[in-house]
Amino acid sequence: MAEILKAPLAVEFPFTRSLGPVQSAFLTGLRERVVLGVRTGDGRVLVPPVEYDPVTAEEIRDLVEVAATGTVTTWAWNHEPRRGQPLDTPFAWVLVRLDGADTGLLHALDVPGPGAVHTGMRVRIRWAEERSGAITDIACFEPYDGGPAQATGHTGEFEDAITGIVAPARLDYTYSPGRAQTAYIHALSERRTVGERCPSCRKVYVPPRGACPTCGVATAEQVEVGPRGTVTTFCIVNIKAKNLDIEVPYVYAHIALDGAGLALHGRIGGIPYDQVRMGLRVVPVWTEGARYPDHYRPTGEPDAEYETYKELL
């Protein structure tokens, strides 16, 4: 069996999220070096604050300032920081109950080693130099030897409160398409289109995905199809796509390759866009070094009868 294909795949997206009034006050407060909690119906102060009471689900809006100092309630030593984490040198993950709060805030504690951290130790916030209204406005915690820091007496009202955050996220994968699609892609690089036949209903899937979705069984028998095929249906593209160097208008079509049990899609070239029609016979056009056809062009044969492809639209 041919070598399994693999390729790097990065999934990256900047998530834009709107904030409720409590989240907005908390994150705006961090920008201003003020830490706000929210008081629940039973009098507890939650930091970080939430919009709804975790016990009763009631809306809670009573903001309370707490100190930038607090006590570690649990910790874990991270000797190998990972991408995106608050510090790039070894640090302790900590839950910190800030003075005046009843719950723990998750963040990093900057200490030289695991011997320098213990549950119950006193810490204070180290503020980031540039702050925008995000949890990362807290750079990390650092050891602190003292009682509760003085609160600023803030009400939680801000003139230019932030209303949303942009949270970038990126995950890196090594993608593998599996057995059936690997075989398809290998064959395609030799300018052959190879599908797989369902052992039960005999339909030939192009491209193959490894299973027949009608019968729910594995496909294994490889069947070379094409290279010629029939346009079964098409559309005319009038809008230029970003990063795509194709003159509009052009035709994008469903093409049933001879021997295939379903149509694949591709661009039609070598013919004016307004002369493409259902039943047009086409053949792939390859460019040097490409792993798949650039487009399909007319063969010059008579058009296929509708009866021959009506099940393959």
Binding site: V47, T73, A76, P114, G178
Partner: protein, 348 residues
């Protein structure tokens, strides 16, 4: 209420990588296995429900491709949860309760190998206050483990014993990924060592549910679901008491777990420290066999490992090795959400 039972269970061999297989190629053998066990065909199944997450392999809408393995054309009655398959089983159970269907196929799968699962799982966290810090799954479990140590509920040797017992029991489980003598290793995130953490791997599982007499026709000794319930902890990690799991206890209560003792418990505790929390929450004594399969410390295909706990508990009843078993599944950081099912076999 209708009596509903698990009548068949199958799982793949769980492996560190499966890059020779697409998700549907990995899944299909277990679907065929449970259908063969019952003699059912896809067309005989009243409802199909699956659990998976696109984030694991970074493949959008992968669950629609996985349906190829079911044979979903002409259209079948089908649903999907972006959760462990245990929750897909819960949905199927409610569907059967309504009387809309008499049989259900439930499956789930996860391919963790294409990505970095510790980082992937950060994306399930609170997106405002927690996810921007990228705290990985091991780090969060380590915070919970330290809280347990501070509370005097466990210590490192006790955690190592949980790891050793799980991998020793897994010797009898040919599907397990990590079996036999496995060194505790170095700290991954202290206090957790590599031995306290689950293996990362790919795998799939499937079960068939059936109601009433249909279950007896399909299985010699059906594993009847006497109760099933799932509950969740407060959203904020710092709001919770990480040394306890009130949501597990409540789910167990609602599922009737405390009405009579169970002989076996399959607990979905990916980290050794989480077994300590669950044993306490479920009031399991030493007379209960915990994770004879080796549990998630022996094989943890994410999105399937919870369903596998229910499947393993049921398979023990099918084989006549257990009469009343508890199965638990979890989801999210530090046992955020918990499902408990109580299964029983007919008297022998």
């Amino acid at each position: 209420m209708r009596d509903i039972a698990l009548v068949a269970f199958a799982q793949t061999d769980h492996r560190r990588t499966s890059d020779d297989l697409s998700e549907v190629e990995m899944l299909m053998p277990v679907l065929h296995d449970v259908l063969d066990q019952t003699g059912l065909k896809t067309a005989d199944i009243g409802f199909t429900c699956s659990g998976s997450s696109d984030y694991l392999a970074g493949r959008a809408f992968s669950f629609t491709l996985a349906l190829d393995g079911v044979g979903a054309w002409p259209p079948i009655s089908e649903s999907h949860v972006e959760m462990d398959g245990a929750w897909a089983l819960y949905e199927a159970w409610t569907k059967l309760l309504t009387g809309d269907a008499d049989t259900a196929l439930v499956y789930s799968y996860g391919k963790s190998s294409p990505g970095s699962v510790r980082d992937v799982l950060t994306r399930q966290l609170d997106p405002y206050y927690v996810a921007p810090l990228w705290p990985d799954s091991v780090a969060l479990a380590a915070l919970q483990a330290q809280a347990l140590i501070d509370a005097g509920d466990t210590d490192e040797p006790a955690l190592a014993a949980v790891a050793a017992r799980s991998r020793a029991d897994a010797v009898a489980n040919s599907h397990a990924q990590l079996r036999g003598s496995v060194p505790q290793g170095d700290y991954l995130v202290r206090p957790l060592r590599t031995g306290d953490c689950p293996p990362i791997g790919d795998g799939a599982a499937a079960v068939i549910l059936a109601a009433g007499e249909r279950a007896r026709e399909l299985c010699r000794r059906p594993a009847w679901i006497r109760g099933i319930d799932h509950r969740i902890e407060a959203h904020g990690l710092g709001v919770r008491d990480l040394t306890d799991s009130p949501s597990t206890r409540l789910a167990a209560e609602k599922a009737g777990a405390f009405e009579r003792p169970v002989d076996t418990a399959e607990l979905h505790a990916p980290f050794t420290s989480q077994e300590v929390v669950l044993r306490k929450a479920l009031r399991l004594g030493d007379e209960v066999r915990v994770n004879p399969s080796g549990g998630a410390l022996a094989a943890n295909p994410i999105m399937a490992a919870g369903l596998i706990r229910i499947g393993e508990a049921a398979a023990g009843i099918h084989r006549g090795e257990s009469d009343r078993a508890l199965a638990h599944a979890t989801s999210g950081p530090c046992l955020q959400q918990n499902l408990v099912a109580v299964l029983e076999g007919d008297p022998r």
